[in-house]
């Protein structure tokens, strides 16, 4: 197993770090979404990493993309914007890349790569979170289109999205689901106001209402009724790539703790010389390295077109819980300064806490993991 990174991957990663630290680190941009920045990100090429070249993409491997996204999380403090980027790429754009017909690819991929159209994924509802399959949104066939009705909640990128990947239950057969590609301008689509959250506020979130929206038959991922397997695949992508930047963020926070602890002196010693502090930093490093390995493994599996559902659940669980812990430890290390807004450490924790909730809570991940382990053994 060769764990070395190619020269091209290194160049990409270095350039992403440079881009992230120079362009995406302005304090003024941390609490609201900026279209200006989105266009810069698109021009840079981040939104075209894995799309095929004929649709204006770079055609890079999933492994290279994983390294780039991790580097993005490392270089940029704008965790919200990074979150928005990943929502757009992996659970909207990439879905069309993999499950969309050529018609859909022609229609949307280039615009989604150039920054013209922003995408998002709409699964969660006010009354169905962990119990996603109990959703109330429904769709039925009518003549030459589909009619969609329902309310989705906590949709990341909702207020800014042009394209929604909406999961709904088939009215004809309630055990089956479909994933429809809905445009903002279709009649009956209404997005709510931006919901202010504990963190990640540069990624706008809202409720989205679909009121008898008429959707052309071609705007569907896979076939009518094939939603559930696709949905699981979507969650697999989400659990890998939305957490890839968190690996980079963990490394960034660890380095900041190291720098601080190496300069802060108490009782005649730098605080990093106290084991209570140094051990925390050591634990951070362990978490970062283990997360990286899992990330690259999952990305490699995806390059080989293999299933990585279990690995993604393990990765998501491990990264999110360590991410939150690292942020808490960071505040502890920075002490009083960590608790102050000015030092931007408390912000990292506020951004991190969502990670144990979205993409399936930690509890759900544990259920998945045990069920799959059990299924393999029994």
């Amino acid at each position: 197993m060769d764990f070395s990174i190619t020269r091209e991957q290194k160049e990409f990663v270095e350039e992403v770090k440079r881009f992230g630290s120079t362009i995406l680190n302005n304090k003024e941009d941390l609490d609201k979404f900026s279209y200006d920045l989105w266009m810069k990100i698109a021009d840079f090429g981040l939104l075209s990493l894995v799309t095929e070249e004929k649709y204006g993409g770079l055609g890079e491997s999933y492994l290279t993309a994983a390294m780039c996204i991790e580097a993005l999380g490392y270089a940029s403090r704008n965790n919200g914007l990074v979150f928005a980027i990943n929502n757009h790429i992996w659970v909207a754009q990439n879905l069309i890349n993999i499950y969309g017909s050529d018609i859909l690819k022609e229609k949307y991929l280039e615009d989604m790569g150039s920054g013209k159209k922003i995408g998002c994924f709409a699964l969660t509802e006010p009354d169905s979170g962990s119990d996603a399959l109990s959703m109330a949104s429904k769709v039925h066939e009518e003549n030459d289109c589909y009619i969609l009705t329902g309310t989705k909640m906590f949709i990341s990128n909702g207020p800014i999205a042009d394209i929604f990947m909406v999961v709904a239950r088939n009215q004809e057969d309630p055990r089956k689901f479909s994933i429809l590609v809905v445009e903002k301008d279709f009649i009956g689509v209404k997005t709510g106001n931006d919901i202010k959250k504990m963190g990640l506020n540069s990624c706008p979130t809202s409720e989205v209402v679909f009121d008898n929206v008429s959707i052309p038959k071609e705007n569907i991922l896979g076939t009518y009724g094939s939603g559930e397997p696709i949905m699981n695949a979507i969650l697999e992508w989400e659990r890998c790539y939305e957490f890839a930047p968190h690996v980079g963020a963990m490394q960034r926070i660890m380095e900041e703790c190291c720098k601080y602890a190496s300069s802060r002196e108490q009782a005649g010693k730098k605080i990093i010389e106290y084991q209570a502090i140094s051990h925390k930093i050591a634990d951070m490093k362990v978490a970062v390295e283990m997360s990286k390995l899992m990330l690259y493994k999952i990305a490699s599996l995806k390059d080989q077109r293999k299933n990585a559902f279990l690995e993604a659940a393990i990765f998501k669980l491990y990264v999110s819980e360590n991410y939150v812990k690292i942020c808490q430890d960071a505040i502890q290390i920075f002490g009083g300064y960590g608790y102050c807004e000015e030092y931007m450490i408390e912000r990292e924790l506020r951004d991190a806490i969502g990670s144990t909730i979205y993409s399936g809570t930690s509890e759900i991940q544990r259920n998945i993991i045990c069920n799959m382990v059990n299924a393999l053994i029994v």
Partner: protein, 251 residues
């Protein structure tokens, strides 16, 4: 038309990347960087060959590769242990031989000075070695089409727009510390561009004419001048701090 831009690598301890990510590497000398930026801007609309010429260590390759991604057509890196420690005399000896080897060069662009050495002598010595005119105080490059090079010079309060025939050495007056962004696509495409490395043999130079051996000046001593001041933090309510500030201003 063939244009060469001379690039000096300087230690990067000032870019956003260096400060934020603690990255230690090389940057393009800010005076050269501005000239480069102006040339790349024109290159988007006009057709000419842009070659980057750099005398430096092999460690500069990452920095130079980015320039290929940014629009430079090819890079020639003059790298050799024998080149190390060169003063302006030895530097221009090497650069002029390289320029002759490149051949058919219409214009040679240089920044006014390097932010480390700050002699500002290289462009002039280069012009005299090559026996061509040198145009200084260039503040803007306006166009580079078939008619020749059109540029703007700033001489104190006089602004002059001129057309310069080739060949000539052009000295850019100002600097920029702003980095340019390079897209991932251009980074990919840059692989097809050439980065050529020449040593003293390729330039038909004897080692004793390069680097420290070929220098005609020597540094005997150097010490840092400390410009630090007390940096007393003015604390307290803003209105009280303002009153303090006004007191200091009044003197």
């Amino acid at each position: 038309m063939r244009v060469v831009i001379c690039i000096k690598p300087v230690i990067d301890n000032y870019s956003t990347q260096a400060l934020q990510l603690n990255k230690k590497g090389y940057a393009v000398n800010p005076y050269d960087q501005l000239v480069l930026k102006q040339l790349l801007e024109i290159k988007k609309k006009q057709n000419f060959e842009l070659i980057g010429l750099c005398m430096g260590s092999m460690k500069c390759q990452d920095m130079l590769f980015r320039l290929l991604a940014g629009g430079v057509d090819s890079i020639i890196l003059l790298s050799d242990m024998a080149f190390a420690g060169a003063d302006t005399y030895a530097t221009t000896e090497v650069l002029s031989k390289a320029l002759i080897r490149i051949g058919n060069v219409d214009y040679i662009f240089c920044g006014a000075k390097a932010i480390d050495g700050e002699t500002g002598q290289v462009p002039y010595e280069l012009a005299h070695r090559l026996n061509i005119p040198v145009i200084n105080n260039v503040s803007n490059i306006m166009s580079m089409d078939g008619d020749g090079l059109q540029l703007e010079r700033q001489l104190d309060d006089l602004v002059q727009e001129e057309i310069i025939a080739s060949p000539a050495v052009i000295i850019g007056k100002h600097f920029t510390t702003e980095e340019f962004t390079v897209s991932l696509l251009s980074l990919k495409r840059a692989k097809n561009k050439k980065m050529i490395i020449w040593n003293h043999e390729r330039l038909e130079l004897l080692p004793e004419n390069c680097g420290i051996a070929g220098s005609k000046t020597k540094v005997k001593k150097a010490r840092e001048i400390n410009r630090f001041r007390k940096g007393e933090i003015m604390k307290g309510e803003l209105n009280l701090v303002s009153q303090e500030m006004l007191k200091i201003i009044k003197g």
